[in-house]
Structure formats: structure tokens, C-alpha cells
Symmetry: C2
Subunit: 493 residues, 2 copies
């Protein structure tokens, strides 16, 4: 794999000095143009200890304008990060459009280190690599320019470098005992790295293997490669505007239309069961604390289907200290400047907490799809990205609950008219609500497709017949209760 | 102090039920109108353990629309918070305009608990209370509506409540050993709380003491008080537009004009000293790690005075993993929706790191003042707020360094023309730069006033004669080096 990085490449001082001023100038120019461009750059610096990763990053920062660059050297995750899926720490550091993020200590560090030290078996390693591919593919699709460098040195070069650093009192601190331990397992490390390379060097996120022993060669090659990548992207013609799609046509029968909307609960029965369920949920929610688990609940549905009322019945059962209701409306400009799922990642709950999403990441395959707010390619790939996202939540111990509330067309109309008649401001029906109604069939069709594509065994949708509000609320509570029961099983005495 | 909360207030069930529906409706209406209003609401819920703080918050959340409210129950700070000033955890949770933030576990919790347990002496307590007053005054001036509730119960009521909760298996978990310890020191707690009340109940941030024993009375009173406060603010007429101010006139001689701009360093001497200083700074920066300290460096100055070049000479000395250059331009919409200093708080460095601000919070008393981007009242109060902010940084172990770089008017003109002639895009001189030049005298006067008002003994300004770039860079490095030496003294063998 690394044969091309053992050729003894080097650059003499005169060549380096002749190229440096022009290269710096070109890098600064590219960076300046990047600011106005609609994409961000992620640079990954990986490789064996002693290959000069730190030096190379320092050099890049010196040559570039430090404004607009953030460097992320990730060590052990903080407790705020440990309470969330592993990729939370990467997501929170994604650069905004126009900016550069340099990661050393990236999503590659833990899997390669653990696999090479025998702490992670092949199957686990493959899982990690698959997740990396999903992540980088998503980034590339979101327009992020990924430039990944693997700085390669041989085992002998590594030893030589560690000895040299240790000999000088100003650099001695840079070589730790751990580094010498890594040196012993060098071959295993290269072996794991090779496999990672094979799996993750893709068209949109290729690795650049750099022979790293000669600093001048390494510096020039990294800088030139980065420059070429940015310039190539800047030179790309603007994509042709997407062709608007026809609205999806509802099938005569789908999972939503097949629901039995006549389901209803009499008021006295509702009151009794409500109280019982809320008590049980409160108790189970307390059991959840300290278990390392959390709850992510998503409420979607047709307008006026009673999402708010159902959420309220759920939060009544919970302690205010342990839940947050996240209402999803238009994204902020910081959110718009980053990949789509960023705004949801930043709201993930800590251990023992509930994050209740009133509308969610599913907006992309519902309103954004139907109103043309994103390209067709964007919502098409969203199904897979959402499944991968929810898999990470579940793997990190979150209970993922997804509710689709639906009424009949006629019942929605009745509730709209009722709300307008009430005249309370907070029940205001907007012109947008009426416009959405006109697309009733298309929304039903899009929702049915969404459910089909994202109702997974680890994060299934619960379809809620919401023609009768009381039935809907109870169904939501019953689902939450049994999910919590499964999640806390074995924890109660 | 709490005499008014020992009157045996109570509300009977019928009265409560008669009032509840209307009150909820009015609260929802107020909350709906708040969304469109240009202010946020912070609710502080404090009081003795067992006074029903959690219950009250749960009720408010039930009555209000959970969308647009976040509840913050702060326990021990996380490690990300411990590495920054104490108020970092409050700043990061400040609600955006239109939103409500409910804090239980607020800035009052630690000082009152520690003082009442004898872990904090009177002088320390007073310091904490002064900081609270500064913080709340700032919030109020930034338009935040502060509603603070103190829920009061007597010692006997507290014991009764703990016993009742313990008797029921569903509520037993709510009473901890610590709660009984607090019960023993109840009198000291009330005593400390009284003093906190006296110091911190101000016009813009008054306390509402609520007799808390009777839940219905407590619930109604808290909700009515909150409603009245929001409605009163909503009813306030829009403030009259601020009268534009005349530009400040430069004094014939000020701290800036008194600088000796002839100071210069010959190139060979510069090279030698640069290398020496950068090596020393690199070494000192490493010593800083693990010391619990960090560096916050601010670069301000006239356009083209060489801020970027000086920052670059500093970062060349540092390891990319341990610094961030924060370039301050227009705020994002999330930043605009929060108090002015929020955007700087969120960029504070963790332990052992440098945050280098290329322009900073001083923008408020420079460009915002002179271009009329804020009301005169806003930049006038900024001096004090900035000093309080920097005091918190220093108290938390940050080394605060502030550089003002200045050239002569003529030198700036020469550099502008030079840059235009070079034609490199990243050196582009914008029409705004030329406009700023026209206000040269006003900028000098504003800067001189800023230096006078914010050059404190804990965070002094370093005025840098920048007519000669080499002199300027060395002066910056010398200042950084000696500050780091002082900060790390005693840590080296």
C-alpha cells in the first residue's frame, strides 16, 4: 500500500525556497476566494507518530491566513462528548462554508489505534470503517471538500526520529512512552492503516499518501496538494439548477391511508389511563438516569394532527430538569452554513435526558422535498443518511422513538376552521397552513415513502391514528412506556 | 426578610380551578407575542430544598408551550465548563430573543450554598454578589427580561415536606442525604439568602418572594407574576430612536499620539530576536499546559497597522493544537439574538490554549460607536461590562493580553496604496477601508478613550508603535513572553 511512499523523495533547500513564496501567495489567494465560495474544506492529517503531522499543520497555518481556519487536535473525549454518539465531537467542529477545519486526531484515530493494538476485532473495525465512509460521503454530498493526508514513514525512520527528538531538550517532551509502545506495534499499525486506506479512499474523499521523512518534500507536497484541491473545486462550474419534480401522487392505498381512523377512547377511560401511564413513564424515566441511556423522540405528522398536545401529555410525565422540547423551524445562518444534520446533532440529549423533537430531520423528505427547498438529489440521499444517523443514536444507547400523527383530510379542515374561530393568537392558522392543505395528497405520498424507507428495526415509526386526540395521546404514551420498559429492563430490583 | 412569606397564604381548589384556564390562555398568548418581540426572558427559580422548585417549573412548562423554552438544571460543572470562567455555563445557555430560559441551579446556587455552609467568607460572598449584580445589570441593559422567584418555606415546613416525600415510594428518591444536611443548616441558609436578596434585588432584576408551602398558591402566584412581567414588557412603547452623536474630536495629545512612531529595528537584529523570542514563547506555552491557565490575546488597531503580521509571528511560535485565531467580523444571527458579549464567551479557550482575537469585544466602543451600529447608551456601558468580563477571565486563570497597533495617518495611506498596487485579492482594500480613513481623527479619539477606560491593572493595554512593522512584531512578542514568564513562574524546575 505504501510502496510509493518509500521512494526516498526529497526536496533540496534551493528548490524549496524558490517555490515557497509563490506557493504561499497562491494558497492565500485560494483561501481568500474560498471565503466567498459556498463550500467548506476539511483537512485530515493522519499517519504514524513521528511522521511530522504537527509540524505540517503548523506550517499550513503559517502559510495560510489563520483567520477562517480552526485546528482540531482531539484527545480523549470530554464528558459532554462521552454522553453522546462518538461522532458528536466531529459534528460540533464541522467548519462553516468558507472556512477550513484541520483535523488531526480525526474519526480515523480510534479505530486504527484500537485495531492495531488488538483491542478491536476485524468485524468491529469494518463497522467503524463503514461509518467513516457514510460520514465522508455525506460530507462530500453536502459540498464539503475533503482533503485527507496520510503521512508515511518507515519503522526505522520512526525510531530515528524519536531518538533525535529525545536528544534535544527542547523537543524531548514530544516523545512519550506511549510513542515507543506504538513503535513496537508499527507493523500492525501499518497493516490496519492499509485496510482503512482501502475502504475509505473514495472518489469524493481520496487519501493522499505523502512520503513524510524529508520535511521539505512533505511540506511542499501537502501544500501543493491542498492548493490543487481547493483550486480544482473553485474552478468547477456552478451546477445546473435542479429540474423541479412533479409532486408525488398518493397510491390508492398506503400505510397511512390504511390506518383505522375510527379508533377512539371515551373520556373517562382516557383520564384513568393517562394518569396511570404518566406515572409509569415518570418512574421509568428516573430509572433511565445513570444507565448511560437517553431518549430521542420525534413527532411528525399532518398539520393540526395534535403533535403539540401529545408532546404535552408526555412532558407532563417528566421532570423539567431532564427533557428539552426542540421545535424545528427555519434554520439559523450558522446552521445553514453546515451539513443538514448539524442542527440536530447539536441538540442531542445528554445521558438520562429526553430530547423531544417537534418536527425533525424528516423535514428534508417532507416539506423540503415538496416545496423544492432542496435539490431532489438531497432528499433522495437523506433517507440513507437519516438511517445512519439514527443507527449512531441507537448504538450510543439512545432510545429512538418516531411518531407519525395523522387525521383525515376532513378532520384537519374542521380543526383549522375551529382554530380560526377561536381567534387565539397562538392557534393562528397561517396562509402557509392553507397552502400545505392543497398538497394533502402529495404530503401523504411523501410521508408513506418516508415511513417505508426509514422505519428500521432499530428505530421504527409508530403510526398514530389521531382523528381522536385522546386515542392518539394514549397510543404515544403506551409506546413510550413500553420502549422505556425495554430500555430499563434489568435495572429495577 | 421573608416575613411576608410566612402569612399562611393558600388558595382553595375552587379558586384555583376557576383561574387556571384563563391564566393558561393568557400565558400562551403572552408567549406567542414574545416570539415576535425583540427580547428574551430569563426565569430564575431559587429557594430552599423542598420548596417545590421542580414542581413549579414542571407546572410552568405544562402551561406554556414547551417550544421556545429551555430549562437549565445545573449540577456540577462539566470539564468543558471547569476550564473556563464560572459564568461560561450561564452564558452558553442564554436564551435567544423570543425565547424563555428557566434556570434552577443558577448563578445564585453556589455562592449561597457555600456561604451558608461556611465554605465562603463574607468578603468572597460579597464578591460573588457583586458579580451577580454586574451580570444581571448587563442582561437587563441588553433587553433581557429577568424574573427571579425565591420560593420560601420555613424550617418546620421543610422537615414536614421531606418526611412526606420519604413516606411515598414514588417520591422517596427526591429526598437525599444532602437534603437533610441542608435542613440542619437551614437558618444559615436563610441568612445567606437574605443577604443575597438585599444585594441583588434591583429595579431591572427584582426578586419575587413566594410563600411556597401551599402548592396552589405558589403555582398561581408564580404564573401570575411571570405573566404580568411579560405583559408589562410587551406593553412598553418602543424606545425613541437614539439621537446620533457627533464624532469624538481628537485631543491635541493623547496616549496614542504621544507614541514615538520613529521606533524601528534593523532587519538582522529583528531576525535574531524573532527567533529567540519565538523559541522562548514556544517553551513557555508548553509550560502553561496543565497549569489550569490559558491565554486570551486581543489585537486591535488602525487598519493596515499590521495586526495580521503580528499574529502570524506569534502563532509561528505556537503548536497548532493549542491555539485558535478568532477573526471577528459581522455577527451571525444566533449571535445577534443574544447579549453582545455572548459571541466572545463562546470562543474562550480551554485550559492550556491560546485564543487570539483579531478584533474583539472592543469593536463596540470603536467601529460600533463611530458608525452608529449601537445606541450611545450601549457603548457607554460597554466599558464597565468589558472590564467585568476581563476580570472574570483573569480570575479564572487566563492571561489577558491586549495590543493596540498604530501607525501614522501617512503610513496607513502608503500601505493602502501599496496594497492596491499589489493587486493580490487577499490584500484587497475595500471602499469601507477608505471610508474609515476619513474618520481617522475620530477613531484615534475613540481608541484613546477606550484605552483610558479599559487599561486595568489586571488587563492592561500594550500600545504598539507599528510604523515599523519589525519593531511592532518584536514588541508584541516581548510582551507575550514576559506575561507568560510571570504566569508560569514557579512551574519550571
Amino acid at each position: 500500500m505504501f510502496e510509493n511512499a518509500r521512494l526516498g523523495q526529497s526536496v533540496d533547500k534551493a528548490t524549496f525556497e524558490a517555490r515557497e513564496p509563490g506557493l504561499r501567495e497562491e494558497l492565500l489567494d485560494a483561501q481568500f476566494r474560498l471565503r466567498e465560495a459556498g463550500f467548506s474544506v476539511i483537512v485530515v492529517i493522519a499517519g504514524a507518530e513521528g511522521a511530522g503531522k504537527g509540524e505540517t499543520v503548523n506550517l499550513l497555518l503559517n502559510w495560510l491566513d489563520a483567520r477562517g481556519i480552526a485546528t482540531h487536535a482531539l484527545g480523549a473525549p470530554t464528558e459532554e462528548e462521552r454522553e453522546r454518539p462518538e461522532y458528536f465531537r466531529f459534528w460540533r467542529r464541522l467548519p462553516a462554508k468558507g472556512q477550513v477545519g484541520i483535523f488531526f486526531g480525526s474519526w480515523y484515530t480510534r479505530p486504527i489505534a484500537m485495531h492495531s493494538l488488538g483491542q478491536l476485532d476485524d468485524a468491529g473495525f469494518e463497522d467503524d470503517l463503514r461509518r467513516i465512509v457514510e460520514f465522508e460521503t455525506m460530507l462530500a454530498n453536502e459540498g464539503v471538500l475533503l482533503v485527507k493526508f496520510w503521512l508515511h514513514i518507515t519503522k526505522g525512520q520512526q525510531a530515528k526520529r524519536f531518538k533525535k527528538l529525545t536528544a534535544n531538550k527542547d523537543t524531548r517532551w514530544r516523545v512519550s512512552k506511549l510513542d515507543w509502545q506504538y513503535h513496537k506495534t508499527y507493523d500492525a499499525f501499518v497493516n490496519s492503516a492499509s485496510r482503512a486506506y482501502r475502504r475509505t479512499s473514495s472518489g469524493p474523499a481520496p487519501w493522499h499518501i505523502i512520503e513524510a521523512w524529508d520535511a521539505r518534500y512533505r511540506h511542499l507536497t501537502v501544500a501543493e496538494t491542498l492548493l490543487a484541491a481547493i483550486n480544482a473545486r473553485l474552478a468547477e462550474p456552478a451546477p445546473a439548477p435542479a429540474v423541479p419534480e412533479p409532486l408525488p401522487i398518493p397510491a390508492p392505498r398506503n400505510v397511512i391511508s390504511a390506518l383505522d381512523l375510527s379508533l377512539a377512547v371515551p373520556e373517562p377511560e382516557y383520564r384513568r389511563e393517562l394518569e396511570r401511564r404518566q406515572l409509569a413513564i415518570g418512574r421509568l424515566a428516573r430509572d433511565l438516569r445513570g444507565s448511560g441511556r437517553s431518549v430521542v423522540a420525534v413527532f411528525e405528522g399532518t398539520d393540526a394532527a395534535g403533535k403539540g398536545g401529545s408532546i404535552r401529555r408526555l412532558t407532563q410525565a417528566l421532570d423539567a430538569r431532564f427533557y428539552e422540547v426542540v421545535s424545528i423551524a427555519a434554520p439559523s445562518d450558522e446552521e445553514r452554513a453546515r451539513p443538514y444534520l448539524w442542527r440536530f446533532w447539536r441538540r442531542l440529549p445528554q445521558e438520562g435526558h429526553f430530547a423531544i423533537f417537534d418536527r425533525s430531520w424528516y423535514g428534508r423528505v417532507l416539506v423540503e422535498r415538496l416545496e423544492g427547498f432542496c435539490d431532489p438529489a438531497d432528499w433522495r440521499r437523506a433517507f440513507g443518511e437519516i438511517n445512519a444517523f439514527e443507527e449512531q443514536l441507537v448504538d450510543a444507547g439512545s432510545v429512538v422513538l418516531k411518531f407519525w400523527l395523522t387525521t383525515s383530510d376532513g378532520e384537519q379542515l374542521r380543526r383549522f376552521q375551529e382554530r380560526e374561530a377561536m381567534g387565539y393568537k397562538h392557534y393562528k392558522i397561517t396562509p402557509e397552513d392553507w397552502r400545505n392543505r392543497e398538497k394533502w395528497g402529495a404530503y401523504q405520498a411523501a410521508a408513506a415513502e418516508m415511513i417505508e424507507r426509514t422505519s428500521t428495526e432499530i428505530a421504527p415509526w409508530t403510526l398514530v391514528e389521531a382523528e381522536d386526540k385522546l386515542h392518539a395521546r394514549l397510543k404515544v404514551l403506551r409506546t413510550v412506556e413500553s420502549a422505556l420498559e425495554r430500555a430499563t429492563k434489568g435495572r429495577r430490583g
